[in-house]
Assembly symmetry: C2
Homo-oligomer: 600 residues x 2
């Protein structure tokens, strides 16, 4: 039996037991849905993943797209697979019915997309980016722009990208130099170079809609002078038909460590007459709009990282059960049969750590999806506002924790397979390579940490931070009288450490050089991330406890026991690390701050 892409039982647990997706049916937006339609969408995604994506993943990795100076070539199986997913609606699973979408709750879409992402993390990136691009234009574009660009994306005719990074500036968006010159017809002429544009060129769709950040002449310096433009690969006529090629050229493809299913491109805008661009919204507000897409993309990156961790875990688990090798330390009889490697405690360590990382990370991303839903569809204004505040606050953690611990999980999957994990007969080394991009793109771990400590934490009188603590206290209260009271106490102690650390850092921001206070910001995100994941593991533990009492069937009992053991792993081996990291923060450790560049 081949390893499952994902554990269906766990996804059902996440969706219905942990996050109660069934209750969403009560909300007007989901009135036409039911548990049956939710599960049907998930089953469809699973079928497409199994039929189209898993069989080609090795070939996609071995034969990445090529560019001969004129055209991009990729193996035809990619288009077949992408078309199948598009046809089934997965380019617009959460979009409105009237725009051609499935109008699924984000949590359900996350579970369905998890199959596609786990089976082909970067190939399905074409769909995910197109979706996020259309969401941005739908929110900030004009009615005409929605008609021209969003509708064709929703039905899979057009694809979408985001074009921010430039060769000279990377994460430093303030320094971007692409220009936009107003033309007489109200459009703009865009000129400049962009790099690392995922899906920037391909022939999977009729057209590609680039969302490009550029400066209009005379705009203020820095991030306050950036505007956002729609710059299509092919211009579109008034009747919606395709017109002339726009002045957008592919300068080259990047050769990536992983994620080879998706082109990563260098694009030259306007080398001839200037690329025609259409301003989105107001001038100089481009970065604000782009953050609409970027925040969505950040949650998407975290979710992708979690999905790769989940699938690597399933693969190595299957291998560990099937592969006989060696004997236990207690066995002194060399003529006895070798045991399956899962019998070795250290292999179980590597599996349990993967489970704790992967399922913890995925639970966090599901929580993010719940918040993204609640901020729009919760019943009261207050509840919507709280969800929005929490999502804003937690986005750096939702992006980063899975991106950091997902590759760690995949690294353990390689190690479980040993030498077999290092060769491409098995996909685990590819999972690792695919996942390694996630701590980099859509804002590196360093950028996310500065965002958390320097911006999200103090924002709005610490509303996000306070809202999060209130949630955690609720869970601790719920757990502290039951069988998990000791675990609840440990979480309460961890929260106390987090609070002490946070207050100390906020105080230091007033009294010390800000560059010193920010020097250990990655450590702060690590502490915070571990507390968040521990909280989600306690929540999973609570649900598992209830499940054990309610469902006597052996497979349920085993499933819940596994959840409780993964929780135990996280609390025994991971959570205590925050005391060490927190000490570095409380000391305002200046090791990095003081390190002189000439001392290296």
């Amino acid at each position: 039996m081949a390893a499952p892409i994902l554990c269906a039982r766990d996804l059902q647990f996440m969706l219905y037991e942990l996050f109660d997706a069934e209750s969403l049916i009560q909300r007007p937006r989901y009135a036409d849905h039911s548990v049956e339609t939710f599960n049907a969408a998930i089953d469809t995604a699973q079928s497409i993943a199994e039929k189209y994506f898993v069989p080609i993943r090795k070939k996609v990795d071995e034969q990445p797209p090529t560019f001969d100076g004129k055209n991009v070539y990729m193996i035809p199986e990619i288009k077949v697979a992408v078309d199948a997913a598009t046809k089934a609606g997965f380019v617009s699973s959460t979009a409105d019915f009237e725009l051609g979408g499935m109008q699924l709750p984000p949590m359900v879409a996350s579970v369905a997309n998890a199959y596609l992402t786990a089976a082909a993390s970067t190939t399905t990136g074409y769909l995910a980016l197109s979706n996020a691009n259309a969401n941005l234009i739908a929110n900030h574009g004009s009615a005409e722009q929605i008609e021209t660009w969003v509708k064709p994306i929703r039905v899979g005719r057009f694809a979408g990208t985001m074009a921010m990074t430039e060769p000279g500036s990377g994460s430093g968006l303030a320094d971007l130099t692409t220009t936009a010159a107003p033309a007489e017809d109200g459009t703009y002429r865009i000129r400049g170079s962009k790099i690392f544009i995922s899906g920037g060129e391909h022939e999977l769709n009729e057209n590609i809609v680039h969302l490009v950040l550029a400066r209009i002449k005379g705009a203020p310096a820095g991030v306050k002078g950036i505007s956002l433009f729609i710059v299509p690969k092919i211009l579109v006529n008034a009747d919606g038909s395709l017109g002339e090629l726009n002045d957008v050229a592919l300068a080259g493809l990047f050769h990536k460590m992983g994620g080879r299913g998706q082109t990563s491109t260098a694009l030259s805008f306007g080398e001839n007459d200037g690329a025609v661009g259409y301003l989105v919204g107001e001038e100089n507000c481009g970065l604000t709009y782009m953050f609409h897409m970027m925040n969505e993309a950040r949650v998407m990156v975290g979710t992708g990282a979690a999905c790769l961790a989940l699938t690597g875990y399933q693969y190595s688990l299957d291998y560990a059960r099937e592969r006989p090798q060696g004997r236990l330390p207690s066995c002194k009889d060399p003529s006895s049969a070798p045991v399956s490697i899962i019998e070795h405690a250290d292999v179980r360590r590597m599996l349990l750590a993967q489970k704790a990382y992967a399922e913890g990370a995925f639970a966090l991303c599901m929580f993010g999806a719940q918040l993204a839903d609640d901020k729009d569809t919760e019943q009261t204004e207050e509840a919507r506002h709280t969800a929005h505040t929490l999502l804003d606050f937690l986005t750096p953690i939702i992006k980063t924790w899975p991106s950091e611990y997902g590759p760690k999980a995949n690294d353990l999957a390689i190690q479980v397979l040993g030498g077999h994990g290092y060769i491409n007969e098995h996909p685990v080394e590819m999972f690792y390579r695919d996942n390694r991009l996630n701590p980099i793109h859509e804002g590196t771990t360093g950028i996310q940490s500065l965002d958390l400590l320097g911006r999200k934490l103090p924002m709005n009188n610490m509303a996000g931070y306070r809202a999060f603590l209130a949630l955690v206290r609720g869970t601790i209260d719920e757990a502290k009288t039951g069988e998990l009271s000791a675990t609840a106490e440990r979480l309460a102690a961890a929260v106390a450490t987090l609070e002490t650390t946070t207050e100390h850092l906020l105080g230091a921001m007033m009294a010390k050089p800000i560059d010193l206070v920010m020097a250990n910001s990655v450590k702060y995100l690590e502490v915070f991330g571990h507390v968040v994941i521990a909280w989600l593991w306690l929540r999973q533990g609570l649900v598992a406890q209830k499940g054990m009492a309610a469902k006597p069937h052996e497979t349920d009992q085993q499933f819940y026991a596994g959840k409780l053991q993964a929780m135990k792993y996280f609390f025994n081996f991971e959570l205590p690390l925050i005391e060490v990291w927190s000490k570095n923060l409380l000391d305002l450790d200046a090791t990095f701050y003081e390190m002189n560049n000439n001392w290296f």
Copy 2:
């Protein structure tokens, strides 16, 4: 200016300031050597690395060897480079003059080889394996075998491999099934399949000498029934000329995540009449002999991992100095010029961590090389014995710590480069992929940890453990009255933690199920490894303190300040982690042990 392969100043520090290689000239074996001859060998290696290996490393990675069912093809530049290194003597740098070697001290050879390994970790693997193969035969083979096989290897005519792993058993050598049947002429006929044989087939040399583990019919079960055989690719006539092809067939090549310069092969022995094999030493003692090679290979693996960490650090350091991007948190002026990314404290964090990991790991491997030398060339029998005891004891740590932290360093190098680190325009993602094999081959981290806790620790009444503690106490005594007294105290506290933990585990071995005690053995190796590296950082700190007082030149002052800061990093951010890990061990945490296979 391109990034240097390695930091020459640091290598001189390691060799002459930290480990006093100059004093070796007093030993009879090195009487013909001088600091000049040592440095000449190092300079030669650096030149060869720069001229032949660095320029081809990207091409080697992109165009790995192929097999058409009959022959193996590789780009011709590999042979040119390997020949240059061979001609310069680097296949036998430590071997006796009379066998064609350079008779260099292992420490000096380590530094010279570091250039080759850092520039082409796996391409130079051909040389390193050949050398280790010849060393084994030189130690355990007959005079005739030495004449026939060792001499041609020493001059680069023949290559050598080690052939242990089989498809069905992997790390479980006890279960290997390759057979050896005695022939009438005193040789044996070998039949069986071996996998993951590095350098198992290629045309870089006239012949390949496989050292093959096999069972003679009727041998005892398990590891006590394994014999070792020389099985050449081509039989050699009595006059030393090449004769018939032996019955050794290449079944296929593995496609690896990294390390693509070296073929990894599946070999079939004796599919026709049986491959001719020559018994090395006594029957059923094969594993003992193989451990001669394997222990050497384990130190070699650790050293290779450290070298890749060092070169990734140099590369990312160079990039961080050159690349302008972003502004400091304290800068509010968007029109100010972007700073070099090394100005960002978090980038310095990633560089300093790399420095601490890489230079700590390399210092450990240099210490291993010193012990390997001392066990043969120290003046007194007692000193030789102590060196042997220490090397035996520390081998699992010398193999594992660099193999675990080397890839972590390379991972940080990728992160320093951001998106540019993920593409093959820069070599850092390749360093990571090359390095990822090291925690797997020559005994995984799990295997090394069982070896440390279950075998090396209790061995000979804990002689290795005691000898190590005595060394560390000597350093603490030396440091405790000077400027590093606080650091010495922290190391003393860490040693106390290590001792408490060790005693607790030894006690538990008497009282508890051995499978439970061994379940957290990887944590024990982590604790021990961090104490060893902290000790080596304190030693580096002491030398740096003295250097600062003695050498007022600015570049020296800066270099030593960097050493002290890296030491500070290790003591502030890494060493405290052992308290968490040690607690897991003191608790005899049963999370993995108790995890039921059906709960996953």
